[in-house]
């Protein structure tokens, strides 16, 4: 299992979700990606995206204006 890290700070929509989309496509089931973003809209988006794509949102945290989501494939 691989843990990927994606720094998507500074990216505006759709940047972060596209990066995650690509990474998850390439990942194997059980792999995780920790993505950090500064676009607050991402917070709502990631929850819905995980639900609709059947990926698992392991955690979603916000610290000093940076949102970090850990997503597990599958």
């Amino acid at each position: 299992m691989t843990d990927y890290t994606l720094n998507c700070r500074g990216m505006q929509c759709p940047g972060p979700i596209m990066e995650l989309f690509k990474q998850m496509k390439a990942a194997a089931p059980g792999d995780t990606a920790a993505i950090s973003v500064t676009d607050m809209g991402f917070k709502k988006d990631i929850e819905v995206w995980c639900r609709k794509t059947k990926n698992t949102l392991v955690s979603l945290t916000e610290d000093a204006g940076v949102i970090t989501a850990v997503v597990r494939k599958g």
Partner: protein, 548 residues
């Protein structure tokens, strides 16, 4: 000089304090029926919620302090019952003893404010039914909340006071519903802004029922409120807040022959003079001129009450300092959302006869890459022929007070959209973007005014029009997350090759996240011969309705 002031909250005490400074020898007396003076009415909801812990924090100055520090006499629980302009006296009743006395004056300032409008319904006099006007109300509500026994509340009226109260009651853990007779909350704001605010309240657990009238308040065996009945439902309510508007408190002035309008609003000129010599009126009981339309309006705001209370003192003997009027600038915070307006709303501008163009533009409130940035949505309303900016509204979780004050100043100075676009505004990443939110909004509006593109407001988009072709040009994952029902997805990058999937003759509305990609797509479609293309103003970011 004997200066008598009726009412001692914002306008009355401001006038008294300045009169003391300007006329050290004057005998200054404030008569008020309230038990408190000089309190910050605007802070009441936050005291109810507990963000302000004790009532005394809202009191700027007590009657004793007025006496000792300013030499101003304050008589609380004293009600003015009659004004005799010919004799220059006011009849005053001591509400504690019932004793009546005549108070002579050389100059009289009426600052009797406003009172809540009480809906004429059964149950209005039950216990645990309250208005929120003065400190007395707020203390009563806070004491009820502090018992920890209340679980549900209904707020009647969705104006800014109703919304602030809803938030602060929710802070105490109550389940709160707002019932509003009109079709939208936040009167005075454009429907898109009101709808976004409504969504935010719902996300924070507040139920909102618009277009519903309250018909009855139910009570329990102890004579306490227990529920609210509307045209459509019955809601549980351990507490009922009445915030369905206010009216000027001016019966005494009107009875003395002071000219009032149909609402009872005391009509004053720009020097705050009433129709009667030596009688002035300031604050929530007096009219103010709208500086854009020139009309006499009712704009009962703390900001205005403080200004007019201060100004009137300069005009007691000769018209000296004119009040420029108001332009409807207001701001409200509900949970983590901020909403502000200045100038005319779209509806007000149209009612005043202006042919207007508007935009709705989401931007970050500071550099988009700077941690902590939040989205704000700017609405601008301008006159088509002159490009003059008539109104602006800003909503979002980011900073809205800075742009609204900048825009308010611009509107007051008669700024055009072109001039706004070129404004030299402060920029560094923690505070703003290189092109600030207001400038970006101005640029979008200029494109519209130049006829480069047409837009449609989310509130005017007719989704049920069978001819409508709704094109979403965002990427697939974005579309998957949330899309407008019926929208077809062709990402902008694929539009050239997949344009054939669309019908150039059908009315087409293009949508993206904020409007930027939709603008590019619209230009492309127009060049390709599409005859009726519009972009969705504000994109998905400002879309306040259901998605799938």
């Amino acid at each position: 000089m004997r200066l008598l002031i009726l009412g001692g909250v914002a306008a009355g005490t401001k006038a008294a304090a300045r009169a003391r400074r300007e006329y050290p020898d004057a005998e200054v007396t404030i008569v008020t029926q309230d038990e408190y003076v000089a309190y910050a009415g605007c802070g009441l909801p936050y005291f109810v919620g507990g963000e302000i812990s004790e009532a005394k924090e809202l009191i700027v100055r007590t009657p004793d302090e007025f006496k000792q520090e300013n030499g101003i006499t304050v008589l609380t629980r004293h009600q003015a019952t009659q004004i005799d302009p010919a004799a220059h006296t006011v009849q005053v009743r001591d509400l504690m003893t019932g004793a009546e006395d005549g108070f002579p004056y050389d100059k009289l300032i009426i600052a009797t404010g406003a009172v809540p409008i009480l809906p004429k319904i059964e149950g209005i006099n039950l216990k645990r039914v309250s208005t929120v006007r003065g400190l007395t109300d707020a203390k009563k509500i806070r004491a009820l909340l502090d018992t920890g026994k209340l679980h549900t509340a209904v707020v009647i009226g969705g104006g800014f006071i109703g919304l602030e109260m809803a938030e602060n009651l929710a802070r105490h853990g109550l389940t709160v519903s707002i019932v509003e007779l009109k079709s939208a909350i936040l009167p005075g704001f454009d429907p898109e802004i009101a709808a976004l605010t409504k969504n935010h309240l719902i996300e924070h657990g507040v139920q909102i029922y618009t277009g519903e009238g309250v018909t009855r308040i139910l009570g329990n065996a102890h004579g306490e409120a227990s529920g609210v009945v509307t045209d459509a439902r019955t809601l549980p309510a351990d507490l009922v807040i009445l915030s369905a508007g206010i009216r000027p408190h001016t019966e005494v002035a009107a009875a003395a022959g002071v000219r009032v309008d149909v609402r009872g609003l005391i009509l004053v000129d720009e020097y705050l003079r009433t129709s009667v010599a030596d009688i002035f009126a300031v604050g929530d009981c007096a009219s103010v001129r709208n500086r854009i339309t020139g009309a006499d309006t009712y704009s009962p705001m703390g900001s205005t009450a403080n200004k007019t209370g201060r100004l009137v003192v300069a005009n007691l003997f000769a018209p000296t300092e004119a009040f420029a009027g108001v332009q409807g600038t207001t701001i409200v915070r509900v949970f983590t959302l901020n909403a502000a307006r200045t100038g005319l709303s779209t509806e007000e501008a149209r009612a005043a006869g202006y042919d207007v163009e508007t935009v709705l533009v989401p931007t970050p409130d500071r550099a988009h890459y700077f941690p902590g940035n939040r989205t704000i949505i700017t609405k601008l309303i301008a006159e088509k022929s002159t490009h003059r900016l008539l109104g602006a509204q800003v909503v979002g979780e980011g900073v809205v007070d800075k742009p609204i004050d900048t825009l308010a100043l611009g509107i007051a100075m008669g700024i055009t959209v072109d001039a706004l676009s070129g404004m030299d505004l402060a920029y560094t990443p923690p505070f703003a973007s290189a092109l600030s939110s207001s400038i970006v909004a101005a640029n979008v509006l200029l494109n519209k005014l130049a006829g480069k593109v047409r837009g449609v407001s989310p509130c005017e988009l007719a989704l049920d029009d069978p001819a409508l072709q709704l094109l979403d040009v965002r990427t697939e994952p974005e579309y998957l997350i949330a899309a407008i029902p019926g929208a077809c997805n062709i990402p902008l990058a694929e539009l050239t090759e997949r344009r054939g999937e669309l019908d150039p003759a059908r009315p087409t509305v293009v949508v993206c996240k904020v409007g930027r990609r939709a603008y590019s797509a619209a230009l492309q479609l127009q060049r390709a011969g599409f005859t009726d293309v519009r972009i969705l103003d504000g994109g998905m970011t400002a879309w306040p309705f259901a998605t799938e």
